[in-house]
């Protein structure tokens, strides 16, 4: 936590929490799309952010992952100029979020869980209004609105009041509103919260399309599968700080790579099974009833090897599977442990 007061550095060893994985790969001369350092924000006595550092490279997707109240939305509100930080600095698209706020607003788009559209306006009227507030002439704003409605599959509903839209349609309209000015950087605050699985998938595909076109995206989510699918890099947020970061794969590796889960015929043989398998892993296998769990280094041949060993020891196997840790595992491991444990893990990973 000491490191938070220091400016961002390209030397990974200077950050206490070892977030070296968050640095953009190479290309040190080009400024990151988003960079924040030491962001602090309190609401009265409630500390929303206690020192957040972030860096998002151009054309990538940064996922801020964390439970409700972790501070994700506060970060987005600061980066989109809605809120001034109490301390720390942030630059988006090369502009300071406080000093250059007015100019910055022309370069960013914001969409979120509230789907901030005027329910009494039609889809087209909503987009036209936003376009005109970006300073477009009415005709241009209307043309742009129609383009976006077509792209987001809302053309049929263009003349209907937004209050008649389904949740998914409303969210797409909200996203379209954020894209009116073609912003190079897009902020999505819990874009799929409350959506049904089909609308969610649709929205994911839309976001993937935007990223393919070169848009930089910073999104917040409570959903691990969402971060896993969309994010190039993930920052895990808890209690107002970044507690871990890296690619989804790096985060999973941090929890200990892959796990072999073996269900035995007979729970009483679990000790014997653990002994037979012990040399396959660094750590002692875990035992829970008839389930033995072994952390393995290499995927190749692990199942065959385990079955062979258990067969030699005369232990019957009911089921065996190799399981990759999910982000759920990551999150539980990270937030379930005390802070010193996290630092330990992080140093190892770095």
């Amino acid at each position: 936590m000491v490191a938070r007061l220091r400016p961002m550095s390209h030397d990974p060893s200077t950050t206490a929490d070892g977030r070296s994985a968050l640095r953009p790969q190479g290309n040190g001369s080009r400024e990151a799309a988003v960079s924040a350092s030491g962001l602090v924000k309190s609401y009265g006595s409630v500390k929303a952010l206690v020192g957040v550092d972030l860096e998002v490279a151009h054309g990538t997707v940064m996922g801020l992952l964390g439970p409700n109240g972790a501070g994700k939305t506060t970060i987005v509100r600061i980066l989109t100029t809605l809120l001034k930080p109490d301390a720390g600095t942030a630059r988006v698209a090369g502009l300071d979020v406080v000093a250059d706020a007015a100019v910055l607003r022309e370069r960013i788009g914001l969409a979120g869980q509230y789907a901030a559209v005027d329910e009494n306006l039609t889809g087209l009227e909503n987009l036209t209004m936003v376009g005109r507030l970006y300073g477009m002439a009415r005709a241009d704003a209307k043309r742009r609105g129609n383009e976006l409605l077509e792209r987001f599959d809302l053309l049929d509903a263009a003349g209907r009041a937004a209050k008649t839209y389904s949740g998914g349609m409303r969210r797409r309209l909200d996203l379209a509103a954020a894209l009116v000015a073609n912003p190079p950087i897009l902020f999505l605050d819990e874009p799929t919260t409350g959506l049904d699985p089909r609308s969610r998938l649709q929205l994911w595909e839309t976001i993937e399309g935007l990223v393919a076109d070169g848009t930089t995206v910073l999104l917040t989510t409570q959903y691990l599968d969402e971060a896993d699918r969309l994010a190039t890099e993930i920052s895990v947020i808890d209690h107002g700080r970044v507690i871990a970061g890296g690619t989804p794969d790096e985060l999973k590796d941090r929890v200990g790579g892959e796990r072999l889960e073996i269900q035995l015929d007979d729970a009483s043989r679990a000790e014997a099974a653990a002994q037979a398998l012990a040399s396959m892993a660094d750590e002692a296998p875990g035992i829970g009833g008839d389930l033995v769990t072994v952390g393995v280094h290499r995927r190749g041949g692990a199942i065959v090897e385990a079955v062979r060993r258990l067969d030699e020891a005369g232990i019957g196997v009911e089921d065996i599977a190799l399981r990759r840790p999910t982000l759920d595992d990551v999150f539980l491991a990270l937030t379930g442990h005390a802070a010193e444990g996290d630092d330990e893990d992080d140093r190892e990973a770095a």
Binding site: L83, L121, Y134, G135
Partner: protein, 254 residues
């Protein structure tokens, strides 16, 4: 400055376009005032003595002023809704003039107030009201009316952001403004009131504005009423517009 002007118009247009699609608001602007005119004229009208004027003549300026004061309700409800549905966040994330959100909202009220005053005047003409003065006087009365309504839009803008829900905005506004409109010369001559109420009624901005309207539309002796009413309207704007803006900044910046 040009930006503020165009953005204000965009927001005002937005607030007006959505109006016909919110039937409950449209009823509040049209049917409700007509209902009040008819109730007062035919239920109380016979019992209230208004020396020098028919009750229809006496009533219409009063009820129009009351109605206009409540026109700002839409602003209270609308701002409250915008804050809670995230629209204010959207606006604040856009490169628009920030003041336009409030300015556009209150400007839209001027249009709806004009509409609702026109409906009331027509209703009045049907039930026996008539202008006793010249056209310029009548128009000046209309302008005073809109100025007064505009001032109260800022009161409601403030109230709308002060409370947490649209329902609360509704009841707070009602409790704060309704007695003010009744303890005035709007519906009965203040001379008929007990002395404490009468003392209050005589300095009440509603009384001044209603009396100013009566002199502009009916030719009643003006006294200081017209200037008094204008001063009151500006005083209300000077106090409540900054309060509303400050409240907006606070409410939106969280």
């Amino acid at each position: 400055m040009r930006r503020l002007f165009t953005d204000t118009l965009v927001i005002a247009e937005r607030n007006l376009v959505r109006l016909p699609r919110a039937p409950e608001l449209l009823v509040a602007f049209t049917v409700q005032p007509i209902m009040f005119v008819l109730l007062f004229r035919y239920v109380f009208g016979g019992a209230i003595k208004t020396p020098g004027y028919s009750y229809a003549d006496f009533l219409i300026p009063g009820i129009i002023v009351q109605n206009i004061a409540f026109g700002g309700f839409v602003t209270a409800l609308g701002l409250n809704e915008d804050l809670h549905k995230g629209l204010i966040d959207r606006f604040r994330s856009l490169p628009m003039a920030r003041a336009a959100v409030l300015a556009g909202r209150t400007l839209a009220d001027v249009v709806t107030n004009g509409l609702s005053a026109t409906i009331l005047v027509i209703t009045g003409l049907i039930i026996g009201f008539s202008f006793h003065t010249s056209v310029p006087h009548a128009i000046a009365g209309g302008a005073l009316l809109l100025l007064f309504g505009y001032a109260f839009s800022w009161v409601f803008a403030f109230l709308g952001m002060l409370v947490s829900t649209a329902e609360a905005a509704n009841s707070v506004g009602f409790i704060a403004v309704f007695p003010l409109t009744f303890i005035s010369s709007a519906f009965v001559p203040v001379q008929s009131m007990p002395s404490v109420l009468r003392a209050f009624a005589e300095v009440n901005p509603f009384t001044l504005t209603v009396d100013a309207m009566r002199s502009l539309w009916l030719g009643a002796p003006a006294g200081n009423n017209i200037w008094g009413a204008v001063v009151w309207a500006f005083a209300i704007i000077v106090v409540f517009a900054p309060l509303a803006v400050a409240r907006y900044r606070r409410a939106a910046g969280q």
